[in-house]
Symmetry: C2
Subunit: 467 residues, 2 copies
């Protein structure tokens, strides 16, 4: 065990070694993984990060970067028995600059996502990255996993929102790539290489993120559709008529709706007649509210005439729109209350959603006839939350024991339809071995070559992302 | 000299070795660079490309990929005396698939850009990449240089339009990364690594490109502004009110306007009173023409009251809008007619355009008091065509001899303002040595590590991009 004395001198009060101090950093928030570390170090600046990395590199000690520790794939939890330092970016939480002309915000990697959203709003702008953990996840983690969320249909993923970044390399050198350019064609795209690399190539310490004009008005509807095919036809029509004014096109099954209503007596069924599928459609407009609501009404009237929809409720008030969203966003919690869950973080090409669902539903139904389907997601970007709950009164542990075979059946079908087994959570230590089944040996080899080139000692977040 | 016999057997009729056959491939279209090659090979498929690469790799022969040979930086021209094969992708020009639901077009790398635009239009969609060479440049070249053009403000560069790609690696292996996913977080972003790598890491053989709904209507105005500062203030107001409906915000100086009018008697001065700067503002709408024109009128009326603009002409007809664009697009040709030109392919953050111009104008004016400024560009994305012509009756060769020192003065100021010396043309062999002056040693070293990892033999387009 190397002596931590010189590190403790430099990071006095910012180096945790006591078991009780380290404990929250050694497990993920769901307590699915646990690891060990020599210490947790809490740098205040990119230069601090660089000295930690150099210290570790000189001693062959691994580094596990950690932001808000809200990851779903164990990417920020060290391996058990690891000879590792956890590098927490939580203290690096300054908004460095905000510029309304360039429409950018420059932030430390440890900034909480919600803080960034708020800073943008205070400056009269909109930062569109939005996801469940936004109150505690950090921009650095969002970039390291290429996070998605609800704004992807209109604004893209974390990758699409990043113009430049600052990174400490595996050698402990600081690369200042904090550009705010809309056009640049001057060499390899290192920025996008670090985005989504889950801390395995270097440590993101700062970023230039894009801002957008704030929408002035939104119009929201909950729509009952007879089938996923009809939903997709409606999506195609709306998207091609409205382009960027269409800001959400979510879907959920009747199963999901009743699950939420069972657990949320404060919410009412917006459409009385049950339907196999519902859509949550949202339009946004920079101008006035009336225009966009009229457009939504007319779209839905046409869709009704074409038998694409069976009924629709347009939110009359902001509170009603919030209730529609509460249904959509209440599914995960409602599902959690009825027992254990088996989840997938998958995406397929939008056109393949119906084929994927019919094939996967049949395959799962044939082998596990009792599981309950809890299917919902972002139809507009092909990201499906293809989840399962145990049968009523069923054995929870027996159900959970099926997780791995269910994952494999689902993922085999996903990949056959040109999809991905990780849409927005990253591979971490959850799916890093599995990926070898789904990516070609050539792609795995290219990834290994990049890893070997930038981190030849293999000290950056070992055991994550790569098989 | 290795024997080409076995290659000739495989590529019968598609292997050029006679000097007169090879000549057009050995120089760029402006005849600024000339190189040499053992042969030009014309594969029909990605598998063909892979076998050429393997053949070259086994013999230590370099490979120079070439698309439409329309590059501005010599990236597709081999080095003089090179032991190289030119790999022309021109025969690989199939549209593989087009899908209106996924809104993608899957193409061979050798597809002409205009062919892709046309195929999208035939399918009722819009492919927004648009640039001067679109009649002969190829998608593969557009991706290899991360091409920009006039659609960047709204739709982004070639990088932003690409969802997936197919690449032959330096080892001659075929990587099928032809994904059409909006969300994917499953490993390193190899796609973006190959985009902009100018053929130095592998050869792009196919790509999945994004399509968009076709705008139904456009409104176009030529606007006289008193200063660049006022132009920027107007840009900020319009962009924040209209977001994606603002599809062009170009600027040009009075110098540019008179230059074009001198050489184009068919065009008339749209605004009688001369002004230091003009803007070409275009709004697009998916709905009707009336709405968008009213919006433009009201915006300009407000801007007039705020003294941001001195006059404006709104195009009454499609022909008039075309004439406005003809002025903007006629500058390069008009400048060519008055003599030699010194050009730059630069971009700065949008907010820095006024500061850059005032500093650079002063620096150039002080040292070269006689040169004529021909300044125009895409104000909305910070990409400035900062060009010079010789003084009236001045010595052309003496003027051209100042190219290198003028470049350096301009580029030093560009980089001090956080800009790039290549916005959309790539580094090629024009700016690959110069980049060492402007990028940090750490960034150059990261680029070298990537190059060494993916192309350890150094056979992929040597002498390009890297210093």
């Amino acid at each position: 065990v190397p002596s931590l004395d010189d590190l403790a001198d430099c990071f006095s009060g910012r180096l945790l070694t006591a078991a009780e101090d380290m404990a929250p950093f050694l497990t993920d928030w769901r307590d699915l993984w646990r690891g060990s570390a020599l210490a947790v170090v809490q740098p205040d600046s990119a230069d601090d990060v660089a000295s930690v990395v150099r210290w570790c590199a000189a001693r062959g000690i691994a580094i596990v970067p950690q932001g808000g520790n809200t990851g779903m794939s164990g990417g920020a939890t060290p391996e058990p028995g690891a000879n590792a330092i956890i590098l927490s970016l939580a203290r690096m939480n300054r908004i460095r600059t905000i510029d309304g002309i360039d429409n950018v915000i420059v932030v430390d990697a440890g900034c909480i996502l919600h803080t960034v959203q708020q800073a943008a709003e205070d400056a009269g702008r909109f930062f569109p990255l939005s996801l469940g953990a936004e109150g505690s996840c950090t921009i650095g983690g969002n970039l390291a996993t290429n996070a998605g969320g609800t704004g992807v249909l209109r604004y893209g993923s974390a990758r699409d929102l990043c113009l430049g970044m600052e990174v400490v390399t595996a050698q402990g050198l600081l690369w200042d790539g904090l550009r705010r350019l809309r056009k640049d064609s001057s060499g390899y795209d290192l920025r996008d290489l670090f985005i989504g690399s889950e801390g395995t190539l270097g440590i993101i310490t700062g970023a230039v993120m894009r801002l957008y004009p704030s929408p002035a008005a939104r119009a929201t509807a909950l729509v009952a559709v007879p089938s996923i095919e009809a939903a997709l036809e409606l999506f195609d029509a709306v998207r091609n008529r409205l382009d960027t004014a269409l800001t959400a096109f979510e879907f959920l099954s009747e199963n999901c709706l009743s699950l939420v209503l069972d657990h949320r007596p404060d919410l009412r069924r917006p459409i009385q007649q049950p339907s196999p599928w519902y859509l949550l459609v949202e339009l946004s407009d920079l101008q006035t509210a009336d225009g966009i609501r009229d457009v939504l009404e007319s779209l839905l009237a046409t869709a009704f005439e074409q038998d694409l929809i069976v009924d629709a409720a347009i939110a009359e008030t902001v509170a009603q729109a919030r209730d529609f969203w509460a249904i959509r966003e209440g599914i995960a919690e409602a599902q959690g209350r009825v027992g254990k869950t088996i989840k997938h973080d998958i995406a397929v090409p939008v056109s393949r959603v119906p084929a994927f669902l019919s094939e996967a539903d049949a395959a799962i139904g044939a082998r596990w006839p009792d599981v309950r389907f809890v299917t919902f997601g972002h139809l507009g970007d092909g990201n499906i939350h293809y989840n399962f709950s145990p049968p009523d009164g069923g054995d929870q542990q027996a159900f959970l024991a099926q997780q791995q075979p269910i994952n494999q059946v689902v993922h085999d079908i996903v990949v056959r339809h040109g999809g991905t087994i990780s849409a927005e959570h990253g591979l971490g230590q959850l799916r890093n071995r599995e990926i070898a089944r789904y990516k070609s040996p050539i792609e795995i080899e290219l990834m290994r070559q990049v890893k070997q080139a930038l981190d030849p000692q293999g000290l950056m977040n070992p055991g994550k992302l790569l098989p």
